[in-house]
């Protein structure tokens, strides 16, 4: 496996022993290698949190920015150089909480990027508070009487916004998750993978065993082209369905921009046409 160009050797990893992120790190390097992507053309964009540290441990370009703000940065990276493969990857608090507004509008824009969300239903880096996906009644140091909010349902939200690719996976199932991740990255347009993982330190409720017992794949006759059916499956709470819920080919954000209408080059290759600017200024006489 050392031939995998995405494995970064000698990392001082900041995750707890037994953290689900190790499995995701392995899944990611294997997925990227299986897709034969070039690390020189691959950019990982993340926010802040334990999940958001993953780009530090992969051999690729990365933009590890602000908490909640991975999607705007990722959208702009793709729109500035559409030749790059862009993956925005962070945790549930980052993508669905702090970055909730960007999540909604990124789906509306539909840039050709992959949005992978480590969903462990708890905050790790800030030590154990509720996340937007925490279940009702989940007790934390900040919610000692248990969470009283309805959990955020990223799949239902994404499908309601007609996202072009919506999937959920569980890291306990390696083969299926590799397949879903590969399909998501290959998909042309915005692709969401809500990736269920346990947090061994701060979430004693949603453990490996809990996820095994409370998840189930979509039925074999599920039609990912059927939005109503996809939505119906997405709002099921127990078991949480796994697999590709919804898929739709749609116009891609960066391909519709005026800025690319006559000039297809990435922005870094462009020069201002000074004579054209002179003409534009001349129009103000």
């Amino acid at each position: 496996m050392n031939a995998n160009p995405f494995i970064r050797e000698g990392c001082d990893i900041a995750w707890c022993p037994g953290c689900g992120n190790y499995a995701i790190l392995k899944l990611m390097s294997e997925t990227l290698a299986a897709l034969k992507l070039d690390p020189q053309q691959t950019v990982l964009v993340s926010g802040i949190g334990q999940a958001a540290k993953i780009p530090q441990y992969l051999q690729s370009h990365f933009f590890n920015g602000l908490h909640g703000r991975a999607l705007p940065a990722a959208t702009a990276i793709k729109a500035s150089n559409p030749g790059l493969t862009v993956i925005a990857e962070s945790g549930d608090g980052d993508m669905y909480g702090e970055g909730g507004n960007h999540f909604i509008h990124c789906i509306r824009r539909n840039p050709n990027l992959t949005n992978i969300v480590h969903n462990n239903m708890v905050y790790g880096l800030t030590k154990g508070q509720a996340s937007p996906t925490s279940q009702r009644g989940f007790e934390t140091p900040l919610q000692p009487a248990g969470v009283i909010l309805e959990p955020f349902n990223p799949l239902a939200v994404a499908i309601s916004l007609d996202a072009s690719f919506v999937a959920r996976a569980f890291i306990g199932h390696k083969e299926q998750t590799l397949d879903i991740l590969q399909q998501a990255i290959r998909h042309r347009g915005y692709a969401l993978v809500d990736l269920l993982q346990p947090c061994v330190t701060f979430n004693k409720l949603n453990t490996y065993q809990w996820f095994e017992a409370h998840t189930h794949y979509l039925d074999s006759d599920h039609d990912p082209g059927d939005r109503t059916q996809a939505f119906a499956r997405a709002i099921e709470e127990d078991p949480l369905r796994l697999g590709i819920f919804y898929r739709k080919e749609k116009p891609v954000f960066e391909e519709q921009l005026e800025g690319y209408k006559t000039d297809k080059r990435p922005l870094y290759q462009r020069q201002v046409d000074m004579s054209e600017l002179g003409k534009l200024i001349g129009e103000f006489t």
Binding site: A73, A74, I77, E258, P266, Q269, T285
Partner: protein, 570 residues
């Protein structure tokens, strides 16, 4: 009413009416016609934050010398609705020729009647009142009817019926104007200057937008907010022609993070916003500092706090621009005072940001952005801007330590290296670290870059008046033309005006001038003398006086001239 004396060399026209009534159309027609007639022209507007109703006004100055500043004086005052009279009352004097519809102002003494509604109705509806008014004013000013007709041809030429009706309306107005001018024995003495007709005529938003294009701007994600939206829309209109990626962001937080993503991937990005939106960008600004990303922010000021006066003007966000963003990192703040400066500062902001890998803020305000006048040319450089990016080698390290603090900037997909940026404190390769030695080295590296912004890349100051001054007036941003004009009027041999388009960091040359002043007067469109305090912080020199205004309006030439006359006779 004796209007004759005021019609020498310069005329100041004020148009008042409610939103949606067509003041903008009259302004466009009159300013174009004036300029085409070879007269220098300046126009600025003040308006309420509403789409219909209220009271708005536009002030137009025409002269045989360049005019670039707001004047309170009203030689002609055209009232388009009843409320306009009360709104503009403070500017109306015994010398003002007040023009209005006699049906609306039946009891107003001294009114120069213009039956706007009746004449417009004759043509085909009240929409034609604008052209009636233009014809009337053009005749009072002694402008050729043909020049006015050419303007209407340019504006309405694509619709034959509309053109015919507007020409008809203008003719009716012009006839009334000519007979009124005869009755009042008006004659206008402003001389046409032939080269003016061929000059540029534009507003501050357009100048900033053009300057951004000249600076190589090819990405703008922003959220609409008055008065910054004009720049965003200008770039949107130029998107295909100049290959600019334009996106209306969901909020300002998204906007600045998009901007940083774009710079990372090789774009040259700007955001355009106002104080409230910029406040939301604070964390993103700090990210630019920490990641050492170039970033250009156009911060169009309006009076705060909170929503404040959304459509009015103030220089109240200098402190915000100076201190926004947590942590310590270098930045530059440019504050243009004229259209040429607005173009040049916007262009230079990209060069500065790229060269210093730091955020640069262009600080404008509603007054500058919404004011228009003729300029001979914009300072367009011959060559396009240089992209300061390198093709990376396999062992590339984004934050390699160097003598001057600058590490060669690579981008993903160009070269053999990996470009790794982290908002956490990082080592030379971009990896998270908490080692004290590396932390200190990285802080020192970032702060060293301030010297570049203070040095040869800085936008130079200008000194007006005597070089051996005793009294120094200091201004920044949009106050420049009013201070310049007031100083020219008073022409005190011991008083000079120092204009600082780069308000931060101050160059050595500016500091020297400030310290040379025996009496230092700082003029600002705010309540707390923010630039005076910045000067004190940087030089230790405390201003002897602050001339401040914070009612949402710009300084008028008369206001500054009066204060300066009092000052020099002290």
């Amino acid at each position: 009413m004796q209007a004759q004396p005021t019609f020498n060399k310069e005329v100041s026209i004020v148009l008042g009416g409610e939103a949606g009534q067509g003041i903008q159309t009259i302004e466009t027609i009159l300013t174009r016609t004036l300029k085409a007639s070879g007269l220098n022209v300046f126009a600025t507007k003040e308006f309420m934050s509403r789409i219909r109703g209220g009271s708005n006004s536009t002030s137009i100055r025409m002269a045989d010398r360049p005019v670039r500043a707001y004047a309170e004086r009203a030689d002609l005052c055209v009232l388009l609705d009843y409320d306009a009279h009360a709104w503009l009352q403070p500017r109306i004097t015994a010398d003002t020729l007040v023009i209005g519809d006699p049906v609306v102002f039946e009891d107003l003494p001294g009114l120069l009647p213009l039956p706007l509604a009746e004449l417009a109705q004759q043509v085909g509806g009240k929409i034609y009142a604008n052209s009636v008014a233009c014809g009337f004013v053009a005749a009072l000013l002694g402008l050729e009817q043909e020049t006015l007709e050419n303007t209407l041809q340019q504006l309405f030429g694509n619709n034959r019926e509309r053109l015919e009706k507007n020409l008809h309306a203008a003719k009716l107005g012009h006839e009334r104007g000519e007979s009124a001018a005869r009755q009042k024995q008006l004659s206008c003495h402003s001389k046409a200057v032939t080269e003016v007709a061929g000059q540029l005529y534009l507003n501050g938003s357009q100048a900033v937008g053009l300057g951004a294009i000249a600076g190589g701007c090819n990405f703008i994600g922003s959220y609409p907010m008055s008065p910054s939206t004009g720049v965003l829309q200008f770039l949107a209109a130029s998107a295909e022609r100049f290959g600019i990626v334009v996106e209306q962001a969901e909020d300002e937080i998204s906007a600045i993070n998009m901007g940083l993503g774009s710079w990372y991937a090789g774009g040259r990005a700007m955001v355009s916003t106002s104080g409230g939106g910029f406040a939301l960008m604070g964390e993103g600004l700090s990210l630019a500092g920490g990641m050492e990303s170039p970033m250009v922010v156009h911060l169009a000021q309006r009076p705060g706090p909170a929503t404040g006066l959304p459509t009015r003007t103030e220089q109240g966000d200098l402190d915000l621009a100076l201190y926004a963003g947590h942590g310590e990192f270098p930045r530059a703040i440019l504050a243009p005072g004229t259209l040429e400066d607005a173009f040049d500062c916007a262009r230079q902001a990209f060069a500065l940001a790229d060269a210093s890998q730091s955020p640069v803020i262009i600080l404008t305000d509603q007054y500058l952005l919404d004011s228009s006048y003729n300029v001979p040319q914009l300072p367009i450089p011959a060559a396009p801007p240089e992209h300061r990016i390198i093709e990376t080698a396999a062992d590339y390290r984004r934050y390699a330590l160097t003598e001057n603090g600058l590490s060669p900037r690579g981008i993903p997909g160009f070269g053999q290296g990996l470009v790794c940026l982290d908002s956490d404190e990082h080592d030379e390769a971009g990896f998270i670290t908490e080692r004290s030695k590396v932390r200190v080295a990285m802080v020192d590296k970032r702060l060293k870059k301030l010297a570049l912004l203070r040095g040869e890349l800085a936008v130079p100051h200008q000194l007006f008046g005597p070089t051996k001054f005793q009294r120094l007036l200091v201004g920044w941003g949009s106050t420049r033309p009013a201070i310049e004009e007031a100083l020219a009027q008073v022409a005190d041999p011991k008083t000079a005006f120092l204009y600082c388009p780069q308000v931060y960091p101050l160059t050595d040359a500016v500091q020297k001038l400030l310290l040379a002043a025996q009496r230092l007067i700082v003029i600002e469109n705010n309540a707390t003398a923010q630039f005076a305090r910045l000067i004190q912080r940087e030089t230790g020199r405390r201003a002897d006086a602050d001339w401040l205004q914070y009612d949402g309006m710009p300084f008028s030439v008369e206001n500054l001239e009066t204060r300066l006359r009092q000052e020099v006779t002290l």
